[in-house]
Protein backbone atom coordinates (compact mmCIF):
# COMPACT_ATOMS: atom_id res chain seq x y z
CA UNK A 1 0.00 0.00 0.00
CA UNK A 2 1.54 3.28 -1.11
CA UNK A 3 0.18 6.44 0.48
CA UNK A 4 0.06 9.62 -1.54
CA UNK A 5 -0.77 13.02 0.00
CA UNK A 6 -1.62 15.85 -2.39
CA UNK A 7 -1.70 19.60 -1.57
CA UNK A 8 -4.14 21.75 -3.53
CA UNK A 9 -5.25 25.35 -3.16
CA UNK A 10 -8.86 26.35 -2.56
CA UNK A 11 -9.59 26.65 -6.28
CA UNK A 12 -8.17 23.34 -7.44
CA UNK A 13 -9.73 21.61 -4.43
CA UNK A 14 -13.11 22.81 -5.65
CA UNK A 15 -13.82 24.90 -2.56
CA UNK A 16 -14.11 28.22 -4.28
CA UNK A 17 -12.33 31.01 -6.10
CA UNK A 18 -10.61 34.13 -4.83
CA UNK A 19 -13.33 34.65 -2.22
CA UNK A 20 -12.24 31.42 -0.55
CA UNK A 21 -8.52 32.20 -0.55
CA UNK A 22 -8.65 32.50 3.22
CA UNK A 23 -9.65 28.83 3.59
CA UNK A 24 -7.93 27.23 6.58
CA UNK A 25 -5.79 24.18 5.88
CA UNK A 26 -7.83 21.01 5.97
CA UNK A 27 -7.19 17.32 5.47
CA UNK A 28 -9.54 15.44 3.14
CA UNK A 29 -9.37 11.65 3.02
CA UNK A 30 -9.36 10.50 -0.59
CA UNK A 31 -8.42 12.28 -3.82
CA UNK A 32 -9.90 15.59 -4.98
CA UNK A 33 -9.83 17.22 -8.43
CA UNK A 34 -6.50 16.61 -10.12
CA UNK A 35 -5.68 14.08 -7.42
CA UNK A 36 -8.48 11.85 -8.66
CA UNK A 37 -6.85 11.71 -12.09
CA UNK A 38 -3.51 10.71 -10.65
CA UNK A 39 -5.05 8.18 -8.30
CA UNK A 40 -6.82 6.59 -11.22
CA UNK A 41 -3.59 6.32 -13.23
CA UNK A 42 -1.80 4.75 -10.27
CA UNK A 43 -4.56 2.23 -9.49
CA UNK A 44 -2.41 -0.77 -10.35
CA UNK A 45 0.02 0.10 -7.54
CA UNK A 46 -2.34 -0.19 -4.60
CA UNK A 47 -2.50 3.46 -3.66
CA UNK A 48 -4.21 5.15 -0.74
CA UNK A 49 -4.73 8.80 -1.62
CA UNK A 50 -5.51 11.82 0.55
CA UNK A 51 -5.67 15.55 0.00
CA UNK A 52 -4.73 18.75 1.78
CA UNK A 53 -6.66 21.84 0.76
CA UNK A 54 -5.51 25.30 1.78
CA UNK A 55 -6.42 28.83 0.72
CA UNK A 56 -3.56 30.71 -0.95
CA UNK A 57 -4.05 33.74 1.29
CA UNK A 58 -4.37 31.62 4.41
CA UNK A 59 -1.05 29.95 3.68
CA UNK A 60 0.78 33.23 3.23
CA UNK A 61 -0.77 35.03 6.16
CA UNK A 62 -0.60 32.13 8.58
CA UNK A 63 2.29 30.10 7.25
CA UNK A 64 3.39 28.84 10.65
CA UNK A 65 -0.11 27.65 11.55
CA UNK A 66 -0.59 26.08 8.13
CA UNK A 67 2.68 24.18 8.37
CA UNK A 68 1.79 22.95 11.83
CA UNK A 69 -1.60 21.72 10.64
CA UNK A 70 0.07 20.05 7.69
CA UNK A 71 2.57 18.38 10.00
CA UNK A 72 -0.30 16.99 12.03
CA UNK A 73 -1.93 15.65 8.85
CA UNK A 74 1.32 13.94 7.88
CA UNK A 75 1.66 12.44 11.35
CA UNK A 76 -1.80 11.01 11.03
CA UNK A 77 -1.69 9.86 7.41
CA UNK A 78 2.01 8.83 7.17
CA UNK A 79 2.39 9.35 3.40
CA UNK A 80 5.14 7.81 1.27
CA UNK A 81 4.98 10.47 -1.43
CA UNK A 82 3.92 14.14 -1.31
CA UNK A 83 2.50 16.07 -4.26
CA UNK A 84 1.56 19.73 -4.60
CA UNK A 85 -0.05 21.67 -7.47
CA UNK A 86 0.45 21.92 -10.39
CA UNK A 87 0.49 25.69 -9.91
CA UNK A 88 1.13 26.74 -13.54
CA UNK A 89 1.64 30.49 -13.37
CA UNK A 90 -0.34 31.19 -10.22
CA UNK A 91 2.19 33.03 -8.04
CA UNK A 92 0.81 32.60 -4.51
CA UNK A 93 -0.06 28.98 -5.24
CA UNK A 94 3.40 28.31 -6.66
CA UNK A 95 5.06 29.82 -3.61
CA UNK A 96 2.89 27.72 -1.30
CA UNK A 97 3.64 24.55 -3.28
CA UNK A 98 7.37 25.23 -3.19
CA UNK A 99 7.34 25.93 0.54
CA UNK A 100 5.24 22.94 1.56
CA UNK A 101 7.25 20.58 -0.63
CA UNK A 102 10.50 21.89 0.85
CA UNK A 103 9.18 21.54 4.38
CA UNK A 104 7.95 18.01 3.78
CA UNK A 105 11.19 16.90 2.11
CA UNK A 106 13.30 18.39 4.95
CA UNK A 107 11.24 17.06 7.82
CA UNK A 108 9.80 13.82 6.45
CA UNK A 109 12.47 12.88 3.89
CA UNK A 110 9.91 11.46 1.48
CA UNK A 111 9.84 12.41 -2.21
CA UNK A 112 8.13 15.78 -2.72
CA UNK A 113 6.87 16.70 -6.18
CA UNK A 114 5.39 19.93 -7.44
CA UNK A 115 4.89 21.47 -10.87
CA UNK A 116 4.80 24.99 -12.23
CA UNK A 117 5.72 27.23 -15.11
CA UNK A 118 9.31 28.49 -15.22
CA UNK A 119 8.17 32.07 -14.58
CA UNK A 120 6.33 31.20 -11.41
CA UNK A 121 7.88 33.05 -8.41
CA UNK A 122 7.58 29.76 -6.55
CA UNK A 123 10.75 28.65 -8.32
CA UNK A 124 12.63 30.97 -5.92
CA UNK A 125 11.49 29.03 -2.87
CA UNK A 126 12.30 25.47 -3.82
CA UNK A 127 14.44 23.45 -1.44
CA UNK A 128 17.04 20.90 -2.45
CA UNK A 129 15.78 17.54 -3.72
CA UNK A 130 12.24 18.80 -4.46
CA UNK A 131 11.05 17.82 -7.93
CA UNK A 132 9.62 20.77 -9.88
CA UNK A 133 7.93 19.47 -13.01
CA UNK A 134 7.84 21.97 -15.86
CA UNK A 135 4.30 22.86 -16.88
CA UNK A 136 2.58 25.25 -19.26
CA UNK A 137 1.44 28.65 -18.07
CA UNK A 138 -2.22 27.84 -17.51
CA UNK A 139 -4.56 25.04 -16.48
CA UNK A 140 -4.92 24.18 -20.16
CA UNK A 141 -1.74 22.19 -19.54
CA UNK A 142 -3.34 20.20 -16.72
CA UNK A 143 -3.68 16.87 -18.54
CA UNK A 144 -0.09 16.83 -19.75
CA UNK A 145 1.19 17.90 -16.32
CA UNK A 146 -0.70 15.18 -14.46
CA UNK A 147 0.68 12.57 -16.86
CA UNK A 148 4.14 13.68 -15.81
CA UNK A 149 3.33 13.61 -12.10
CA UNK A 150 2.10 10.05 -12.54
CA UNK A 151 5.16 9.00 -14.53
CA UNK A 152 7.51 10.36 -11.86
CA UNK A 153 5.60 8.70 -9.02
CA UNK A 154 5.76 5.39 -10.90
CA UNK A 155 9.49 5.68 -11.42
CA UNK A 156 10.02 6.56 -7.76
CA UNK A 157 7.93 3.57 -6.67
CA UNK A 158 9.95 1.33 -8.97
CA UNK A 159 13.08 2.50 -7.16
CA UNK A 160 14.84 3.10 -10.47
CA UNK A 161 17.30 5.88 -9.70
CA UNK A 162 18.54 6.23 -13.27
CA UNK A 163 15.02 6.52 -14.61
CA UNK A 164 14.24 9.14 -11.97
CA UNK A 165 17.32 11.15 -12.92
CA UNK A 166 16.39 10.89 -16.57
CA UNK A 167 12.94 12.21 -15.70
CA UNK A 168 14.51 15.11 -13.84
CA UNK A 169 16.71 16.00 -16.78
CA UNK A 170 13.86 15.77 -19.26
CA UNK A 171 10.81 17.12 -17.43
CA UNK A 172 11.89 19.14 -14.41
CA UNK A 173 12.69 22.83 -14.33
CA UNK A 174 16.33 23.74 -14.28
CA UNK A 175 16.72 25.89 -11.16
CA UNK A 176 20.46 26.05 -10.46
CA UNK A 177 21.38 26.75 -6.88
CA UNK A 178 24.53 26.11 -4.84
CA UNK A 179 24.54 22.99 -2.71
CA UNK A 180 27.12 20.96 -0.84
CA UNK A 181 28.55 17.89 -2.53
CA UNK A 182 31.41 15.60 -1.64
CA UNK A 183 34.43 16.27 -3.82
CA UNK A 184 37.19 13.74 -4.41
CA UNK A 185 39.88 15.52 -2.44
CA UNK A 186 40.11 17.61 0.75
CA UNK A 187 40.37 21.40 0.57
CA UNK A 188 44.08 21.53 1.45
CA UNK A 189 45.02 19.30 -1.49
CA UNK A 190 42.82 21.19 -3.95
CA UNK A 191 44.12 24.54 -2.67
CA UNK A 192 47.78 23.65 -3.22
CA UNK A 193 46.98 22.15 -6.64
CA UNK A 194 45.10 25.29 -7.67
CA UNK A 195 47.95 27.49 -6.54
CA UNK A 196 50.52 25.49 -8.48
CA UNK A 197 48.32 25.69 -11.58
CA UNK A 198 48.05 29.45 -11.14
CA UNK A 199 51.79 29.85 -10.54
CA UNK A 200 52.58 27.81 -13.64
CA UNK A 201 50.56 30.23 -15.75
CA UNK A 202 48.04 27.56 -16.66
CA UNK A 203 44.31 28.27 -17.01
CA UNK A 204 42.41 27.89 -13.73
CA UNK A 205 38.92 28.17 -12.37
CA UNK A 206 37.62 29.41 -9.05
CA UNK A 207 35.38 27.02 -7.13
CA UNK A 208 33.32 29.94 -5.82
CA UNK A 209 32.04 32.27 -8.53
CA UNK A 210 31.66 35.94 -7.90
CA UNK A 211 27.92 36.58 -7.84
CA UNK A 212 26.71 40.12 -8.43
CA UNK A 213 24.07 41.41 -6.07
CA UNK A 214 20.74 42.43 -7.53
CA UNK A 215 20.91 46.17 -8.15
CA UNK A 216 18.18 48.49 -6.99
CA UNK A 217 17.69 52.06 -8.22
CA UNK A 218 19.18 54.62 -5.86
CA UNK A 219 16.60 57.27 -4.97
CA UNK A 220 17.70 60.88 -4.76
CA UNK A 221 16.08 63.46 -2.53
CA UNK A 222 13.24 65.34 -4.15
CA UNK A 223 12.79 68.72 -2.59
CA UNK A 224 14.66 70.14 0.34
CA UNK A 225 15.80 68.39 3.48
CA UNK A 226 14.25 71.25 5.48
CA UNK A 227 10.83 69.91 4.41
CA UNK A 228 11.67 66.30 5.09
CA UNK A 229 10.97 63.98 8.01
CA UNK A 230 14.01 61.82 8.71
CA UNK A 231 13.87 58.39 10.32
CA UNK A 232 16.49 56.35 12.16
CA UNK A 233 16.79 52.64 11.43
CA UNK A 234 19.30 50.19 12.85
CA UNK A 235 20.48 46.64 12.28
CA UNK A 236 22.21 46.76 15.67
CA UNK A 237 19.51 45.04 17.69
CA UNK A 238 18.83 47.92 20.09
CA UNK A 239 15.61 47.34 22.03
CA UNK A 240 14.01 48.63 25.24
CA UNK A 241 15.55 47.01 28.31
CA UNK A 242 13.98 43.62 28.86
CA UNK A 243 13.52 43.03 25.14
CA UNK A 244 9.70 43.08 25.40
CA UNK A 245 9.12 41.79 21.87
CA UNK A 246 11.81 39.11 22.08
CA UNK A 247 13.99 40.27 19.20
CA UNK A 248 16.50 37.49 18.46
CA UNK A 249 20.18 38.23 19.05
CA UNK A 250 21.03 36.79 15.64
CA UNK A 251 19.06 36.21 12.42
CA UNK A 252 16.21 38.54 13.32
CA UNK A 253 12.97 37.11 12.01
CA UNK A 254 11.11 40.43 12.29
CA UNK A 255 11.58 44.14 12.78
CA UNK A 256 10.15 46.32 15.53
CA UNK A 257 9.63 50.03 16.07
CA UNK A 258 10.06 51.91 19.31
CA UNK A 259 9.04 55.40 20.38
CA UNK A 260 11.55 58.24 20.27
CA UNK A 261 8.95 60.95 20.71
CA UNK A 262 9.49 62.76 24.00
CA UNK A 263 13.11 61.62 24.29
CA UNK A 264 16.12 63.87 23.83
CA UNK A 265 18.60 61.02 24.05
CA UNK A 266 18.76 57.30 24.77
CA UNK A 267 19.68 56.49 28.34
CA UNK A 268 21.84 53.69 29.63
CA UNK A 269 19.77 51.13 31.47
CA UNK A 270 16.64 51.91 29.44
CA UNK A 271 17.84 50.14 26.31
CA UNK A 272 19.98 47.12 25.52
CA UNK A 273 21.47 45.66 22.34
CA UNK A 274 20.46 42.11 21.41
CA UNK A 275 23.19 41.15 18.95
CA UNK A 276 25.82 38.42 18.91
CA UNK A 277 27.78 39.99 16.06
CA UNK A 278 29.42 42.90 17.85
CA UNK A 279 30.57 43.75 21.36
CA UNK A 280 27.45 45.45 22.68
CA UNK A 281 28.94 46.62 25.96
CA UNK A 282 29.89 50.07 24.61
CA UNK A 283 26.48 50.84 23.15
CA UNK A 284 24.79 49.48 26.28
CA UNK A 285 26.67 52.23 28.17
CA UNK A 286 25.21 54.86 25.85
CA UNK A 287 22.65 53.66 23.27
CA UNK A 288 23.10 56.88 21.25
CA UNK A 289 26.26 55.16 20.00
CA UNK A 290 24.10 52.91 17.81
CA UNK A 291 20.92 54.97 17.38
CA UNK A 292 22.17 58.59 17.31
CA UNK A 293 19.12 60.27 18.82
CA UNK A 294 20.93 62.97 20.81
CA UNK A 295 22.80 64.24 17.76
CA UNK A 296 19.68 64.18 15.61
CA UNK A 297 17.76 66.26 18.19
CA UNK A 298 20.48 68.92 18.03
CA UNK A 299 20.18 69.07 14.25
CA UNK A 300 16.38 68.98 14.43
CA UNK A 301 16.40 72.04 16.71
CA UNK A 302 18.76 73.75 14.28
CA UNK A 303 16.13 73.09 11.57
CA UNK A 304 18.58 71.15 9.45
CA UNK A 305 15.58 69.01 8.56
CA UNK A 306 11.90 69.40 9.38
CA UNK A 307 11.34 66.64 11.91
CA UNK A 308 12.71 63.39 13.30
CA UNK A 309 10.27 60.50 12.93
CA UNK A 310 8.51 59.46 16.16
CA UNK A 311 9.84 55.90 15.96
CA UNK A 312 13.10 54.15 15.19
CA UNK A 313 13.09 50.74 13.50
CA UNK A 314 15.28 47.84 14.52
CA UNK A 315 16.23 44.31 13.56
CA UNK A 316 19.27 42.05 14.10
CA UNK A 317 21.17 41.15 10.96
CA UNK A 318 24.09 39.01 12.06
CA UNK A 319 23.96 35.50 10.58
CA UNK A 320 20.80 36.33 8.64
CA UNK A 321 20.02 35.28 5.10
CA UNK A 322 20.06 38.31 2.76
CA UNK A 323 16.67 37.35 1.32
CA UNK A 324 15.11 37.49 4.78
CA UNK A 325 16.64 40.87 5.44
CA UNK A 326 15.28 42.05 2.08
CA UNK A 327 11.82 41.11 3.28
CA UNK A 328 12.37 43.00 6.55
CA UNK A 329 13.79 46.00 4.73
CA UNK A 330 10.79 46.09 2.40
CA UNK A 331 8.46 46.00 5.39
CA UNK A 332 10.24 48.88 7.09
CA UNK A 333 10.33 50.86 3.84
CA UNK A 334 6.62 50.41 3.32
CA UNK A 335 5.82 51.72 6.80
CA UNK A 336 8.19 54.64 6.40
CA UNK A 337 6.80 55.56 2.98
CA UNK A 338 3.24 55.53 4.24
CA UNK A 339 4.29 57.78 7.17
CA UNK A 340 5.67 60.34 4.74
CA UNK A 341 9.33 59.76 5.62
CA UNK A 342 11.65 61.41 3.13
CA UNK A 343 15.05 60.15 4.28
CA UNK A 344 16.65 57.50 6.45
CA UNK A 345 19.86 57.16 8.39
CA UNK A 346 20.65 53.47 8.84
CA UNK A 347 23.32 52.27 11.26
CA UNK A 348 24.76 48.77 10.96
CA UNK A 349 27.51 46.74 12.59
Amino acid sequence: MVKVLHYLNQFFAGIGGEEKAGQELLFIPGPVGAGAVIENELKGHGVEYATIACGDNYFHEEEEKAIRAMGAALEQFQPDVFLAGPAFNAGRYGLACAKVCSWVRDNWRIPAITGMHEDNPGTKEVGRHVFVIQTGASAAAMRESLKRYTLLVERLLAGNETAVENFRAEHCLSIPRRFTVRSGAPDYVRAVNLLLTKLNGQPYESEIPRVEAKRHPIPNLTGSLTDATVALVTEGGLVPKGNPDRLESSRGSRYFKYLLNGREDLRRGEFEAMHTGYDTSTVDQDPDRIVPLDAMRVLEKARRFKKLHDYYFVTTGTGAMPSKMEEIGAGIAEELASSGIGAVILTAT
Binding site: A213, L299, A343
Partner: protein
Protein backbone atom coordinates in the same frame (compact mmCIF):
# COMPACT_ATOMS: atom_id res chain seq x y z
CA UNK B 1 19.06 56.55 2.73
CA UNK B 2 22.59 56.77 4.03
CA UNK B 3 24.15 53.69 5.61
CA UNK B 4 26.74 54.08 8.38
CA UNK B 5 28.81 50.92 8.75
CA UNK B 6 32.39 49.81 9.24
CA UNK B 7 31.95 47.24 6.44
CA UNK B 8 31.72 49.93 3.77
CA UNK B 9 33.13 47.80 0.96
CA UNK B 10 30.46 45.15 1.49
CA UNK B 11 27.81 47.89 1.32
CA UNK B 12 29.28 49.09 -1.98
CA UNK B 13 29.23 45.54 -3.36
CA UNK B 14 25.48 45.21 -2.73
CA UNK B 15 24.86 48.55 -4.41
CA UNK B 16 24.03 50.88 -1.50
CA UNK B 17 24.08 54.44 -2.82
CA UNK B 18 25.31 56.45 0.16
CA UNK B 19 27.79 54.89 2.57
CA UNK B 20 29.73 56.28 5.52
CA UNK B 21 32.40 54.42 7.47
CA UNK B 22 31.45 55.64 10.93
CA UNK B 23 33.61 55.06 13.98
CA UNK B 24 34.43 51.50 14.97
CA UNK B 25 32.75 48.17 14.29
CA UNK B 26 31.31 47.88 17.80
CA UNK B 27 29.97 51.44 17.96
CA UNK B 28 29.42 52.91 14.50
CA UNK B 29 28.28 56.32 15.76
CA UNK B 30 30.18 56.45 19.06
CA UNK B 31 33.52 57.70 20.32
CA UNK B 32 33.74 56.32 23.87
CA UNK B 33 37.31 57.55 24.39
CA UNK B 34 36.05 61.14 24.28
CA UNK B 35 34.39 62.90 27.21
CA UNK B 36 30.56 63.01 26.77
CA UNK B 37 30.20 66.61 25.48
CA UNK B 38 32.96 66.08 22.93
CA UNK B 39 31.49 62.76 21.90
CA UNK B 40 28.13 64.46 21.29
CA UNK B 41 29.81 67.20 19.27
CA UNK B 42 31.56 64.54 17.17
CA UNK B 43 28.29 62.66 16.65
CA UNK B 44 26.50 65.83 15.57
CA UNK B 45 29.29 66.41 13.05
CA UNK B 46 28.87 62.85 11.76
CA UNK B 47 25.08 63.22 11.43
CA UNK B 48 25.61 66.55 9.65
CA UNK B 49 27.86 64.69 7.20
CA UNK B 50 25.12 62.08 6.82
CA UNK B 51 22.50 64.71 6.06
CA UNK B 52 24.77 66.28 3.46
CA UNK B 53 25.17 62.85 1.91
CA UNK B 54 21.39 62.52 1.79
CA UNK B 55 21.21 65.80 -0.11
CA UNK B 56 23.83 64.65 -2.63
CA UNK B 57 22.47 63.00 -5.75
CA UNK B 58 24.29 59.75 -6.60
CA UNK B 59 23.98 57.27 -9.45
CA UNK B 60 26.08 54.46 -7.98
CA UNK B 61 27.63 53.51 -4.63
CA UNK B 62 29.60 56.33 -3.08
CA UNK B 63 31.55 56.30 0.17
CA UNK B 64 31.28 59.71 1.85
Amino acid sequence: MVLITCLSNVAAQVGIGRIMGGSKFHYPVGQPELPPEEELRWRVGLMEKGLTALETPVQEPKIF
